[in-house]
């Protein structure tokens, strides 16, 4: 039924990629969603739609777009090459792919959460002389926390399962850029059904434990 898992590298790599991508998405996503939740300006609708786009495109197309962007001859790739940085075919490319693909999920969740925060709490804090940064971290963020947590779970899950874009920009180099979903894909293709099943079990159990733990934690802190 199951195969002995001798190579744990894909598992460790997947965890690393998913965690870093989640952190990056959070750091980038919160400011963006906060601004768009409150601000009103011309073209906001279009901008919002643009941010949601990586969700719409098939991941392989996102991967192709990234390849054109951060590949050796890509716009960004050339600039980075001059600085001595190569992203393509490294696990950092996997992080970037996961980040781009999962970003809209955090954005949508966090935006709804920020919108639901009663603006009067912030106003009250402002009249008490708190700085904007302080208000954000001590008032807005805690009040919006449940929604952000939902975004975190979605982001983490999506980053962990990301396949199409990762395959394109990070390649499928065993021991270097092969994450679990990639390993599963190639195990299935090679007819190694036991290995594929084992890897599916690993990724399912692992994500189950993490998400379960987050949910439990959230439930406990709800009251």
């Amino acid at each position: 039924m199951f195969a002995q898992l001798t190579d744990w590298y894909p598992v460790l790599l997947s965890v690393r990629v998913a965690v870093i991508a989640t952190v990056v998405v959070t750091c980038l996503g919160l400011p963006v969603s906060r601004l768009l939740a409150r601000g009103e300006f011309f073209g906001k609708d279009v901008l919002e739609a643009v941010i949601t786009l990586p969700l719409v495109l098939p991941p392989s197309v996102v991967g192709y777009g990234l390849l054109i962007l951060i590949g050796k001859n890509g716009l960004l790739g050339k600039m980075l090459a001059e600085l001595g940085v190569t992203l393509i075919f490294t696990w950092w490319a996997a992080v970037i792919a996961s980040t781009v693909v999962a970003f809209p999920l955090m954005y949508q969740s966090a935006k709804a959460a920020f919108k639901s925060v009663d603006i009067n709490f912030e106003k009250a804090a402002r009249t008490l002389g708190a700085s904007e940064l302080r208000i954000f971290f001590t008032i807005t963020l805690p009040l919006a926390w449940p929604g952000i947590l939902a975004g975190l779970v979605l982001t983490f899950a999506r980053a962990l399962g990301e396949f199409g874009a990762t395959l394109m920009v990070a390649g499928n180099i065993p021991g270097q850029t092969q994450t679990i979903p990639l390993a599963i894909y190639f195990a299935v293709g090679a007819g190694k059904n036991e290995m594929a099943r084992t890897l599916v079990a690993v990724i399912t159990v692992f994500s189950f434990i993490v998400i379960y733990w987050v949910n439990r934690w959230a439930k406990k802190h709800q009251n």
């Binding site: 969700l55 192709y64 709804a112 449940p146 929604g147 439930k219």
Partner: protein, 264 residues
């Protein structure tokens, strides 16, 4: 002093915001300009493209509607009721997001092939290699996003808001329609957008369950795959870009459509 602090804070936010926007615009722009303009024209006039657009729109919208039908009660129950194993089930509903689409596709293939295939065939409801399969696959991929966001949206409602409506004469169903849903509107819209976007771009599970058949189960994602696999990258990318534009228009239309008259 106060003003400078505000400026630094907002400056950082705006900086990140602008960088992300530029990044995404360049990403999409790369696809746009890597192709040739002639390709766009030929894509727009191609009957296969017309089929794929219409097919994708109705399958993805149907999948989203079905996802909403499932996610509204699921999200509501997960948000409002307490029962043993609730966190476990809550977690279970997120798992399809983690699974690589190929695995989801195989799982669906097993379910609707060997397990349920005969029964469904007797009902004339074949799923495997049919257009229904496309909807099923998209629905399966999109639903967890809707459930999670809907639950979150229901969570953020003060139950006393609903209590007041009960005392004002509304039945539980009336409260749900008149109070709960309007209050959760932001989250529900966000969830629907996510689910729809995900259904729109779904490829792996669809390809596995519904097969990749020109002019039959050809969604835009499938069209992109088909054109890429015969080396017609120009055509594929033009399709992708037009797909983006269609999605963009629909999203904005949806927002305007749903947003009229109600301001939160």
């Amino acid at each position: 002093m106060l003003t400078t602090r505000i400026n630094i804070f907002q400056g950082v936010f705006w900086l990140i915001f602008i960088l992300i926007t530029i990044f995404l615009v360049v990403l999409v722009g790369g696809l746009l300009f890597y192709g040739k303009w002639a390709a766009f024209v030929s894509v727009i006039h191609h009957p296969e493209f017309h089929f794929a657009v219409v097919f994708t729109l109705w399958t993805s919208l149907l999948a989203t509607a079905l996802a909403a039908v499932v996610a509204v009660p699921c999200g509501f129950i997960l948000s409002r009721y307490s029962f043993p194993g609730k966190v476990l089930i809550d977690t279970l509903m997120d798992i399809p997001i983690v699974l690589p689409p190929l695995v989801s596709g195989i799982a669906l293939l097993i379910l609707f092939g060997p397990v349920l295939g005969d029964a469904l065939a007797r009902l004339g409801m074949d799923i495997v290699f049919s257009t229904r399969g496309v909807v099923v696959a998209q629905w399966f991929i999109a639903t967890p996003f809707a459930i999670r966001t809907f639950k979150q949206a229901f969570d953020s409602i003060d139950p006393r808001m609903e209590n007041v409506a009960r005392t004002l004469g509304y039945s539980p169903a009336g409260v749900f329609v008149r109070v709960t849903v309007p209050l959760a509107k932001g989250g529900i819209l966000g969830g629907l957008t996510m689910a729809w976007a995900r259904a729109l771009g779904e490829f792996g599970a669809t390809a596995m369950l519904a097969g990749i058949t020109r002019l039959k189960t050809e969604t835009l994602s499938v069209a992109i795959f088909l054109n890429m696999s015969i080396g017609d990258i120009q055509f594929a990318m033009a399709t992708a870009v037009i797909m983006l534009l269609v999605a963009l228009l629909l999203m904005i239309a949806f927002k305007v459509f749903a947003g009229t008259g109600v301001r939160l």
